[in-house]
Symmetry: C2
Subunit: 396 residues, 2 copies
């Protein structure tokens, strides 16, 4: 019999430009909250996974450094990285360690301190997250350029407009304005978004997620332990994952991220979700809106909308609070911020709090079904993880 695993404690630092704290101090902001939330002490953690892409920060061995500062020494540890999907790979591996019986309590920490390097260095480094040999070195694309390929293809085929893209930013900033831990907790108007400068046509500054420092932490526990710690464990019901070619010239089209489709398919199959209408299973989702177009693609890749109709969900405000599927009520990567390897753990933190109905009331999802989904992409769909969380226990 496979062991059930639940999230029993979560924490998140303030996201933003965090020159006010060191790397380990930034980690402790979320770890301390997660320990308090779970009612645990450091000695109770049996293994900890540190999700960190690094390259821009001073600590090349982040796991031991934050482990020591957070009082987790001498527990075993490793760092994981799957580009911008690193955080979800950390949740997967923490889950599997517990499900395997090797530990009962595991901490997944995501942390990134991107602003320790100058912005051009960070942009170059992220750009190299494409295929270095094929794209970055030879053609000079950075990430706004990659997603602009998808945006132009989508606009051309389905008649979406720049205004439609900006509607995603308006929604996510609206909810982000009520999230005190968001990097940009302020509303923006459609006009402000449309007037913001182009980064890579048709994507503008306000279509783009920012460069962010931040940390997020989730403590996972086996069923027996979870039952003792909390009355509201959030169960990890299924995790799907996939990868795709890093050579964009080999992609079939720029209308969908194939890895996201495959990861969703795997997660739905494991969780018993009917892929013909998955939206009906979930109250709330956090999706990877690194650029506004990415949220619209996510609607379709996850099966929340048919091909070409994802744009209708944002036009018709169906992904707002009270809609059929409530998306990115944290503010998303767009307004909450996108500290690369902390993002996936942050999604788990947000969805745990949403399912427990404990976030700020203006951005609290209506929770009827008790199920939530995260969609976390690395690169331009190089990696994808789709995680499903539920208030009801999966099995047995």
């Amino acid at each position: 019999m496979v062991r059930n695993v639940a999230i029993v404690g979560v924490g998140q630092s303030k996201f933003g430009v965090r020159h006010d704290v060191s790397f380990p101090e930034l980690a402790w902001e979320s770890v301390s909250q997660a320990l308090d939330d779970a009612g645990l002490e450091q000695k109770d953690i049996e293994y900890f996974i540190v999700s960190n892409a690094g390259g821009w920060s001073s600590e090349p061995l982040p796991a031991v450094v934050v482990g020591e500062y957070c009082g987790l020494t001498p527990k075993g540890t490793a760092r994981v990285e799957a580009a911008c999907a690193s955080g979800s790979s950390a949740i997967k591996l923490a889950h599997d360690i517990i499900a395997s019986g090797q530990a009962d309590i595991v901490l997944a920490l995501g942390i990134e301190k991107m602003n320790e390097s100058p912005t051009p260095t960070v942009v170059e480094f992220i750009g190299r997250a494409g295929n270095y040999f094929w794209e970055f070195q030879n053609f000079g694309l950075t990430f706004p350029g990659y997603y602009a390929l998808y945006a132009t293809a989508y606009m051309h085929k389905y008649g979406a407009t720049e205004e439609d893209l900006c509607r995603v930013a308006v929604k996510n900033h609206y909810y982000g304005s009520y999230n005190p831990k968001a990097q940009f907790p302020k509303k923006i108007t459609l006009e402000e978004c449309m007037k913001s400068r182009y980064v890579a046509w048709p994507l503008k500054l306000l279509d783009s997620s920012p460069i962010t420092d931040g940390s997020a932490a989730a403590i996972l526990a086996s069923e027996d332990v979870a039952r003792k710690l909390t009355d509201t464990p959030v169960w990890i019901r299924a995790i799907g994952h996939a990868s795709d070619t890093s050579n964009l010239s080999k992609r079939d089209n720029f209308l969908s991220l194939r890895a996201a489709v495959e990861a969703a398919h795997m997660a739905y199959k494991k969780a018993g979700v009917d892929p013909s209408n998955p939206a009906k299973y979930f109250d709330v989702a956090e999706v990877h809106d690194c650029f506004t177009i990415a949220e619209i693609l996510a609607y379709e890749d996850l099966g929340f909308a048919k091909r070409g109709e994802g744009v209708n969900l944002i036009r018709e405000e169906q992904t707002y609070v009270g809609g059929p599927i409530q998306v990115n009520l944290s503010g998303g990567l767009k307004a909450k911020g996108h500290p690369i390897a902390a993002t996936g753990v942050g999604m788990a933190v947000e969805l745990t709090r949403q399912l427990r109905q404990e976030v700020e009331k203006e951005r609290q999802a209506v929770i009827d079904r008790g199920w939530a989904l995260s969609h976390n992409i690395g690169g331009t769909g190089h990696y994808a993880y789709v995680n499903i969380y539920s208030l009801d226990k999966p099995r047995g």
Copy 2:
């Protein structure tokens, strides 16, 4: 019930300076061998973990890039890093994914292409694997300096000599000379070692492991699958892990790596090994001889010798073929080479082949008990993993 997990296929590239191949080509050298050895195709792999420290090579997202080249797309993946112990963390996580029931067949690949950067850059980068804030920036230590602290403390307390350290190098080069995949497959004499130039007194060039490019791959499978694939599965019996302070000024002494002691203790407890005489359980071990002193410390940290008596094991040639505990018959990090994050996977590859009795006859261990141990250290004992392998199946 916990699921048993076995290694069913292994491969290793030639270690050395590998300007002749690209990063993904280097990966394929070991992955192709492991697939052939297991009798599997790429489509059979359900998830792959890429152990890579990186920083010196051109691909910052190694997992998808090697996955695509090796034909593993669209399978899910993540990179792991635990400094020089990365490879063993990859084995642990691959094991746990299968033990959890999330997959039946997982590939652990370790790869490093260190020579894509100039040597001083590599040395600086490795140096930063100490605590950046406390050691590297302020005091200027690089890794030979860290281990020289341990060597001088050990020599002072127990009367070991520079000759004793060199005896480790002589043994490991002796066996490495019979390993065609070793970086330095040549014997050295005690005199040659003693005459080699100092890197950090008392450690000389020939006390030191080299900068290496290489890859190693191990395919792990659940019991049911392993039984169908091979008559000689090598079972993963236990994995122990620990971390320690990265601020060396906080270490109690420089005579032992505490994380190694704790990791061994955990592994012995899980496997039912009596810690008062663990050597009697094992035929053969691969230990982390990044510098010669490290192998002597390993003898003691693992309990193969009492404190201060580890040096006797090498003086009396007890760790040679036919001795009570046969150590580093691959040539060790010293002669086989040390491609940082490939090293731990390489240990698993070597021990699998030793237990199957299929290595070159001059360096084949006597296999009586059918048990083997790997000891893999990250940093200067910042991370430690101790893995136990056996020919007999762990549990019912």
